[in-house]
C-alpha cells in the first residue's frame, strides 16, 4: 500500500515538474497574445468612446460595417486593396523567387554572393525601406525619375506615389523588392532536396531544362509552394508599415492604398480626423473581420495540404 502511494506521488511530482516548465511560456502567451486576441473579438460587440466601450450592442458594429454606406465603402475599399496587395506579392514576388531559386540551385561562381544580396533587404526595417523608396521615387529629385530622364524616357518619369491607380502597385513592388529573398531561400531549400540523379536521368533522356522545371521540379515543390503561399497570405493581409511609410496612415492618395491594417489603425487606435477619438468597438470589429479572413485562408490551406498528404 505504501509503495503504491509512493509511485503515485512520484508520478504526480513529475507532472508538476512538467507544468512548471510550461508555466512561464503559457502565462505570457495567454496574457499578452491569446487573451488580447479573443478579448478583441468580445470588444467588437461593444460601443462607446475612449478605452472602455461599455455599451453592449450585440452585432450592431457588424451591421454598421456592412450596411452603413460610410463604413461599407471604407471596409470594402480596404479589403479589395489588401487583396490586390497580396495578389501582387503572390504573383511577382513568388514567381521571381522561384526563378531566382532555380537559377541558384546549380553550382557556379558567385552563387553565395547573389543569394546574400537578394536576401539583404529582408533584414532592413520595413519602415526604413518605405521611406527610402519614397525618396527614390520622389518626382522632383527621385533617382528613378532622374535615371529615366537620363535615358531619354521623360514620358516614363511619373509621380509614382501620387496617382491613384499607380500608388498601390508601386508600393506593392517596393515590398516585393524587400521580401523576394524569403521565397527564394525557401524554394532553394526545396530544390536542393530533389535528387541529382533524377534530374541527370531526365537530361540524359534529352528533356529540356524548361520541361524538367515544369514536369519534375515544380510538382515536387508543391508542398513548399503551399507554405510560401500561406506565409505570403498571412504577412500581407497584415501589412501596415510600408503603407504608413509611403502613403501615410490614410493610404494616400485618396485612400487608394488603404489596407485593412491602416483602416484598423485609424479607426481603433489613432481616431479619424477631425475628432481624433478612437472608436474601439469598430476597430475591434475590423480586427475581427481580418481575423476571420485569415482563419478561412489558413483553414483552406490546411484542408488542401492535408488532402495532398493523404492522397
Amino acid at each position: 500500500m505504501i509503495r503504491v502511494q509512493e509511485i503515485f506521488n512520484a508520478r504526480n511530482r513529475k507532472k508538476i515538474t512538467w507544468v512548471l516548465f510550461l508555466l512561464p511560456a503559457v502565462t505570457v502567451y495567454l496574457v499578452f497574445m491569446a487573451g488580447p486576441l479573443f478579448d478583441s473579438l468580445r470588444l467588437s460587440l461593444y460601443q462607446g468612446e475612449g478605452y472602455t466601450p461599455t455599451k453592449f450592442v450585440g452585432l450592431q458594429n457588424y451591421v454598421d460595417l456592412f450596411t452603413n454606406p460610410l463604413w461599407r465603402e471604407k471596409f470594402f475599399n480596404a479589403f479589395i486593396n489588401t487583396c490586390i496587395f497580396f495578389a501582387i506579392h503572390m504573383l511577382v514576388q513568388n514567381t521571381l523567387g522561384l526563378l531566382f531559386a532555380n537559377l541558384l540551385s546549380a553550382e557556379f561562381k558567385g552563387r553565395n554572393f547573389f543569394r546574400t544580396v537578394i536576401f539583404a533587404p529582408a533584414t532592413l526595417s520595413v519602415l526604413v525601406t518605405g521611406f527610402l523608396w519614397t525618396l527614390i521615387l520622389n518626382p522632383n529629385w527621385g533617382a528613378v525619375n532622374k535615371a529615366l530622364i537620363a535615358m531619354n524616357l521623360r514620358e516614363w518619369a511619373l509621380p509614382w506615389l501620387g496617382r491613384e491607380n499607380l500608388a498601390l502597385p508601386v508600393i506593392s513592388l517596393t515590398s516585393v523588392w524587400q521580401w523576394v529573398g524569403m521565397p527564394t531561400v525557401m524554394f532553394l531549400a526545396g530544390l536542393m532536396g530533389i535528387s541529382d540523379e533524377l534530374l541527370e536521368a531526365a537530361r540524359i533522356d534529352g528533356a529540356s531544362e524548361w520541361n524538367i522545371f515544369w514536369k519534375i521540379k515544380f510538382p515536387l515543390l508543391k508542398p513548399v509552394i503551399g507554405v510560401v503561399a500561406i506565409l505570403t497570405f498571412v504577412d500581407n493581409f497584415n501589412a501596415f508599415d510600408v503603407i504608413f511609410a509611403m502613403a501615410g496612415a490614410k493610404g494616400e492618395p485618396a485612400y487608394s492604398t488603404d489596407l485593412l491594417a491602416t483602416l484598423f489603425y485609424r479607426t481603433g487606435i489613432a481616431g479619424e480626423h477631425p475628432v481624433g477619438i478612437p472608436n474601439m468597438g469598430m476597430g475591434a470589429t475590423i480586427a475581427t473581420m481580418t481575423f476571420f479572413i485569415l482563419m478561412s485562408g489558413v483553414l483552406t490551406w490546411l484542408y488542401f495540404s492535408r488532402r495532398n498528404v493523404t492522397e
Binding site: 512561464p24 470588444l43 537578394i118 533587404p121 523588392w177
Partner: protein, 275 residues
C-alpha cells in the same frame, strides 16, 4: 549540378540585374547621406565630392539617437533572453512530456504562427494602461516575448524531438532531475536552434514599428524605428538629414547581416523549415 554556357549566361544576367536593383537604393542611401543638399540634386549617384557629416550630426542631436539605440538594445536584449529561456523550457516539456495536455498546448502555441498578435492590439493597449506601463519601453517586452513563443516552441520542440532519447534516459538513471537534464544536457546541445530563434526574433523586434507607435509617445522611451519615423517627417525637405537618419537605422543591421549572412537567412526563414 552545373548550367551549360547559355544557361550560365542567362543566370548571370538575371541575377546581376536583380542585384543591381537591390543595391542601387542602398547605394543611393549611403552615398547621399554624406553629401550636401546641392550635390544630392546635381549628382545623385556618384561618390560624394564634398564629404559632410552634418546630416548625422543633426540627427544625433535633434533625435537623441544615442537614447533610441540604448532603448532598442535594452528591449531587444531582455526580450530575447526571456524568449530563449522560457521558450526552451516549454519546448523541453512539449517534446518530452507525453500527455494530452502537452499535445494541446503545442497546437495552441503553433496556431500563433498564423495569427498576427497585432489583431489583439486594442486589448493590449488597455492591458498596458492597466499595468501602468504606457509610455515606457518596458511595455514592449512582454508583448515581444509572447510574440516570440510560437516560433520558439515550434523550432525548439522539433529540435529536441530529434535528439537521441538514450542520453536523457542515461542521465535520469544516474539520478539527474528534469531541471538538471534540461540545464546540463538539453540547453548546451540546443545552441544552434537557439541561435536560429534568437536571430529570427532579433530582426523582428529590432525592426518593429507597430507597438512603439501604439504604446509610446514620450521621447525618453522611443525606439529607433519610432525615432526614425518622427525625424523623417521633420526632415522631409532636408535630404541630407533624412538620408542620414535612414542610414543610422539601416547600417547596423546591414553590417551584422554581412558578417552573419548564413545565420540570418536560416533564422528569418525558420518559420517555414518544417512546413
Amino acid at each position: 549540378m552545373r548550367w551549360n554556357k547559355v544557361q550560365l549566361a542567362f543566370t548571370y544576367i538575371v541575377l546581376a540585374v536583380w542585384s543591381a536593383v537591390v543595391m542601387f537604393p542602398i547605394w543611393t542611401l549611403i552615398v547621399n547621406s554624406l553629401k550636401p543638399q546641392k550635390e544630392i540634386f546635381k549628382d545623385p549617384f556618384g561618390l560624394p565630392k564634398t564629404f559632410t557629416f552634418d546630416g548625422y550630426k543633426a540627427a544625433w542631436s535633434d533625435g537623441r539617437f544615442d537614447l533610441y539605440f540604448t532603448n532598442t538594445l535594452i528591449v531587444t536584449f531582455i526580450s530575447l533572453i526571456l524568449i530563449l529561456l522560457i521558450g526552451s523550457m516549454a519546448a523541453y516539456a512539449l517534446a518530452k512530456w507525453e500527455s494530452p495536455v502537452s499535445s494541446f498546448l503545442y497546437v495552441f502555441f503553433i496556431a500563433g504562427l498564423m495569427i498576427p498578435i497585432r489583431l489583439g492590439t486594442l486589448d493590449l493597449v488597455r492591458l498596458i494602461k492597466a499595468l501602468n506601463l504606457q509610455d515606457t519601453y518596458w511595455s514592449l517586452i512582454p508583448v515581444y516575448v509572447a510574440m516570440g513563443m510560437p516560433i520558439a516552441t515550434f523550432v525548439l520542440t522539433a529540435f529536441i524531438k530529434e535528439l537521441p532519447g538514450e542520453m536523457f534516459e542515461a542521465a535520469k538513471i544516474d539520478g539527474a532531475s528534469e531541471l538538471q537534464v534540461y540545464s546540463r544536457i538539453v540547453l548546451p546541445l540546443m545552441r544552434p536552434a537557439l541561435a536560429t530563434v534568437a536571430i529570427f526574433n532579433m530582426i523582428k523586434i529590432w525592426n518593429d514599428f507597430w507597438f512603439p507607435l501604439v504604446f509610446i509617445r514620450a521621447e525618453e522611451a522611443r525606439t529607433v524605428a519610432l525615432g526614425v519615423s518622427l525625424l523623417f517627417g521633420q526632415y522631409r525637405t532636408d535630404w541630407t538629414r533624412a538620408l542620414a537618419v535612414l542610414s543610422l537605422a539601416a547600417v547596423p543591421m546591414l553590417l551584422l547581416y554581412i558578417v552573419l549572412a548564413r545565420e540570418f537567412i536560416k533564422g528569418l526563414t525558420a518559420g517555414a523549415v518544417k512546413g
